[in-house]
Symmetry: C2
Subunit: 366 residues, 2 copies
C-alpha cells in the first residue's frame, strides 16, 4: 500500500484569489502560497507533500497563473519544467485541468489523472491516501471518480454530492446521483439528516483518455482548444499558440463542464471518505483547523508574539506583538500593512472590507 | 474676565508612566506626550493651551522627568528655561509641585500657584477657566482651593471630595469636609445619590506661601529638602544640590501630604464645577472622550486608515489600514510594534498584558 499508484499523475490547479482570507491572502499572494495553519509549509507545499507518496515527485503537476509561477517554483524546487504550466490568464478550473490532462496523456497514454485543490487542508493523511487509491481503482474501470467527505455539520459553505448504490470496484465506492451547489441552511440540514449526501471536496480521479473523451463530447470547442495547445507544446510554437488560443477557451469550472453532466449519465463514482478535510475558506475555518478541540485561542505564527488573557478565537501574527484581553470568538489577523479584527461568526463577510478599500482607492491593500 | 489672573502661576507636573493606556503610552513615551483624542495636540499641549489665557505664556511651568525634558521642550517651544524643571527621578507629586512652588515663591512672593495634571481632558474650556478664577479668589483668602467635578456616574476610577457649607469667597465655593479614595461600587453609588460628593480632578490652587507653610508643618523634612534645592537653584551648585537632595525627598502625593490633613483642619475649599472632565485613564475613557454621543465607532488617528462595518468602540491607528467587522464595544489599538485588542469593559485591565510582556522579557514593548 505504500507504493506509488501505477500511471497515476497528480494535477494541482493553483489559482484563485478569493477575498475571504484577506488580508493574509491578497491578489498577488494567494492562499495556496501561505502557511495558514502554522505548520511551517504553505498549503501548496502541504498538498505536494501528501501527493508524493501516491505519484512520486515526478508525478506532481502544477498549473498556476503566470504571475505566481516564480513563487510556486520557489516553494516547490523539485518541480521539473514539464511539471509546471503557467496560464496566461485565469479561465477557471476546466481549461487548466484539461490542458494538463492533455499534456500528460500525450506522454503517458495509460495515464490516470487526479486533481486536487492547492489550498485545502487534510488532517488524516493515511485515510486520504487510501481514498485516492480507491478512487484510482474505480477510475480504471472508466468512471470519473470523486471523493465525498462525510458532512460534519449542515454547512452552507460547501457543495454536496448525492450518493446512490454502492459500487463493487472499491470498498467505499458508490454511484453519484447528482452534484448540488452550496445549499441554504434548511436544505443543508436535510442533506445532513438524509445520510446520503457528502461534501464535495473538488477532487477528481479519472483515466486521462476518459476525461478527454467526456470533454470532447460536453465541451467540444474547449476540447479542441486544449488539444491545439497540447499539440504545439513540445514544438517551437508553444508560446505563440498558448498566447493565442488560451484566451479563447471557455471559462468554466470542472464541476459544471464535466462532473455534473457525466454524473447525470451515470459516469461518476464517489469514494465515501472521512479524513478531516477543510477548504479553509474563511478565518473561522482556519480557527477550526488550527484549534482542534483543545485550545481556546488558536495562533498562526509564533506563539511568543501573542499575549492572551480570557480570549478565544484566532490570532494570525506576522511578527508584531499582539495582545488580546477579554475578547471571545475573535478573529485578529495582523499583517505588515493591514489589520483585520472580526469574529468567527462574521468571518465569511470579509469581502465587505476588501470592497471598502477598493472603493477608496487603496489598491495597495488588495 | 479675559485677562490673566494677577500673580497666578500654573504648575504642570508631567510625570507618571501608567500602563492602562499601553501600548500607546509606554515607559519612555507617557500619555501626556500623546494626542490621544485626535485633536492634533498632545494632552500636555492641550493643558498648556488652556492655561495660557489664565497665566500667560510666561506663567506656565512644567516639571517633568529628566528623560522627558527634551520631548516636553519640543512640544512646548515657548517654554523658557526657568519654566521647566527636570526631576532626576520620580518622587510623586508633592516634591514636584513643592519645588516648583518654592522656586516661584522666590521670584514672586505674592504668587498664587495652580497645579493641573498634564494628561487630563477638559471639554468646556470657558467653564474650566471660570472655575480656576473662582479658585484663585478663594485661594487669596488663604484656602487651599481645589476643583470638584459634578459626578456623572458612580465611578470607581476617581477619588471623591465631600463638600460642606457654601463659602462666600466665590459663587461656587464650598468647604471641603474630606477627601475620599477611589470607592467600591456600592460606596460610589451612595456618593452619587448623596449629592454632596464631587470627583477629585487633582487640581489645586493656593497662595505659594500658604502651601509652603502647610508643607513645613505637615512634612517638615520634605519642606526642608525643597527649600535647600530652591536656595541653590540660581547659584553654581544647583545641579549638585539637586542630584544630592532630590533622592532623599519623601515620596508622597500632594493629596496625602497636604490636601487631606489641611482639609481635616478646615483649610481646603472646593469650587463646584461641571466642565466635562476626564482623566482618560483607560481606552474606555478615551472612547467616551472621542465619541461624544454621536458615533458608534471612535477613531483616533486618520479616519481614512479605518474600514468599519457594523462595529462600535474605539480604534486607535498609527498609519496601517485597520479593518473591523461585526465587533461591538471593541478596543483596537494599533502601534508600529504592538497591537492591543480588548473591549471597553476590560480596558482597565491592560496591565495584565504589560505584565505578561515583562515576564517574558519583552522590555522593548514596555
Amino acid at each position: 500500500m505504500e507504493d506509488v499508484v501505477p500511471s497515476l499523475h497528480a494535477i494541482i490547479p493553483a489559482g484563485g484569489a478569493g477575498t475571504r482570507l484577506w488580508p493574509v491572502s491578497r491578489a498577488g499572494h494567494p492562499k495556496f502560497l501561505i502557511d495558514l495553519t502554522g505548520s511551517g509549509r504553505s498549503l501548496l507545499q502541504q498538498t505536494y507533500d501528501r501527493l508524493v507518496p501516491l505519484v512520486g515527485k515526478a508525478g506532481v503537476n502544477v498549473i498556476t497563473g503566470a504571475r505566481h509561477r516564480e513563487a510556486v517554483v520557489a516553494q516547490l524546487p523539485d518541480l521539473a519544467d514539464e511539471q509546471i504550466v503557467a496560464e496566461p490568464s485565469p479561465r477557471d478550473s476546466m481549461p487548466a485541468i484539461g490542458l494538463m490532462t492533455a499534456l500528460i496523456h500525450r506522454r503517458d497514454p495509460d495515464a490516470l489523472v487526479a486533481s486536487f485543490a492547492a489550498d485545502h487542508l487534510i488532517l488524516d493523511e493515511p485515510r486520504f491516501l487510501d481514498a485516492v487509491r480507491q478512487a484510482a481503482d474505480v477510475a480504471r474501470e472508466g468512471f470519473v471518480a470523486t471523493i465525498g467527505l462525510r458532512p460534519l455539520s449542515p454547512s452552507t459553505a460547501y457543495g454536496y454530492i448525492e450518493t446512490g448504490d454502492a459500487l463493487p470496484a472499491a470498498s467505499d465506492a458508490a454511484a453519484v446521483l447528482r452534484f448540488v451547489e452550496k445549499p441554504e441552511a434548511a436544505q443543508a440540514l436535510e442533506y445532513l439528516r438524509a445520510g446520503t449526501f457528502r461534501w464535495n471536496a473538488g477532487m477528481f480521479v479519472s483515466r486521462a483518455d476518459v476525461m478527454l473523451d467526456h470533454l470532447r463530447r460536453e465541451q467540444p470547442r474547449l476540447h479542441a482548444g486544449i488539444e491545439e495547445i497540447a499539440a504545439a507544446w513540445d514544438g517551437p510554437d508553444r508560446d505563440e499558440v498558448l498566447e493565442g488560443t488560451w484566451p479563447t477557451l471557455t471559462r468554466i469550472a470542472i464541476d459544471h463542464a464535466l462532473a455534473e453532466p457525466v454524473a447525470a449519465a451515470g459516469g461518476v463514482a464517489v469514494i465515501r471518505a472521512d479524513f478531516g478535510w477543510s477548504d479553509i475558506g474563511d478565518f473561522a475555518a482556519v480557527s477550526q483547523a488550527v484549534l482542534g478541540t483543545e485550545r481556546d485561542l488558536g495562533i498562526v505564527g509564533d506563539p511568543r508574539d501573542v499575549a492572551a488573557v480570557d480570549s478565544s478565537g484566532i490570532v494570525v501574527t506576522s511578527g508584531r506583538a499582539v495582545s488580546v484581553l477579554g475578547v471571545e470568538d475573535i478573529v485578529v489577523v495582523d499583517t505588515p500593512d493591514a489589520l483585520l479584527v472580526t469574529t468567527r461568526a462574521r468571518a465569511q463577510q470579509v469581502k465587505q472590507l476588501v470592497d471598502h478599500w477598493r472603493d477608496v482607492g487603496r489598491e495597495d491593500l488588495l
